[in-house]
């Protein structure tokens, strides 16, 4: 149920009931907020871009094996 709530897939009645509880509980507000932030933080922190020399070495690697 917690998982459904956090993902926003909980049915409307349960969601409203939990919303009421969560909004009155600072710990819950912080919990939900940090839970939802976590994927965004990880996405930004791991968005590696391809170094140019690697693209070039990939091209050579593949050309040599055709």
């Amino acid at each position: 149920m917690l998982m459904d709530y956090l993902e926003g897939t909980l049915g409307p009645e349960d969601r409203v009931a939990l919303d009421v509880h969560v909004s009155g509980c600072p710990r819950c507000v912080a919990f939900v907020e940090s839970y939802r932030q976590t994927p965004r933080i990880l996405r930004a922190a791991t968005a590696a871009s391809l170094p140019e020399d690697l693209a070039e070495s990939l091209r050579r690697f593949l050309a040599a094996r055709r």
Binding site: M3, L6, E7, R27, C28, A30, F31, E33, S34, Y35, Q37, T38, P39, I41, L42, R43, A44, A45, T46, A47, A48, S49, L50, L54, A55, S57, L58, R59, F61, L62, R65, R66
Partner: protein, 202 residues
């Protein structure tokens, strides 16, 4: 992985590449190399491994092209190849013993109320926000590396690569409920691990 807008479709290019047109294959490589590399970095622990995965994935794609059927999207097909290459690369590495991130799962007392959050993780100075951000990014990457493999795979594909749950389920050979469960646990562990950097109070 959505196909880039404009130009010839991936599947048409793949058909021409399968028929031996080198330029068509090179176009597919140039469309997808950055995304495959980013995925490889997220699923493996060092740049050398990510480079190997990048090469192996495109080589396997090249060799597998004649068997590619346009009934599935090229991007999904390539993602499967790249994910498999990354998982094989990781398995080939001797697992470094790491402290489990499970210690960072949230705790609830008998009444379902939050118990104290997991141990303090070393308070970061809040004085310098830039430093905080850098620290946060480093800590996020370290957390991902320490995540047990099954949680990491589901989390990377679903939350970082933003594939649909059903697609992740197919790629990992598990059902959708298991994907959601693993992603959820991964978020909880990472959230706890990031600690007060994301506002988790010790």
């Amino acid at each position: 992985m959505a196909a880039p807008a404009g130009g010839e479709g991936d599947e048409a290019l793949a058909a021409r590449a399968a028929a031996g047109e080198v330029l068509a294959f090179e176009e597919l490589v140039s469309r997808y190399q950055a995304r495959v590399y980013r995925l490889a970095c997220r699923l493996t622990d060092d740049e050398g491994d990510a480079k190997d995965v990048l090469q192996e994935a495109f080589l396997a794609a090249y060799r597998g092209l004649p068997a590619f059927r346009a009934s599935s999207r090229f991007s999904t097909w390539l993602y499967r190849i790249a994910t498999n290459a990354a998982l094989m690369q990781r398995r080939a590495r001797a697992r470094r013993p790491t402290e489990s991130l499970e210690a960072f799962l949230p705790r609830f007392d008998e009444d379902g109320v939050h118990a104290a959050e997991p141990a303090d993780l070393g308070a970061a100075s809040r004085a310098d926000e830039l430093l905080d951000r850098k620290l946060l990014a480093e800590k996020a990457r370290a957390g991902l590396e320490r995540l047990p493999g099954i949680y990491r795979d589901a989390f990377v594909l679903r939350d970082l690569e933003e594939l649909e749950t059903a697609e992740v389920a197919e790629l990992l050979g598990i059902d959708a409920a298991a994907v959601r469960q693993r992603v959820h646990r991964a978020r909880l562990m990472l959230r706890g691990y990031l600690g007060e950097l994301v506002g988790v109070k010790p």
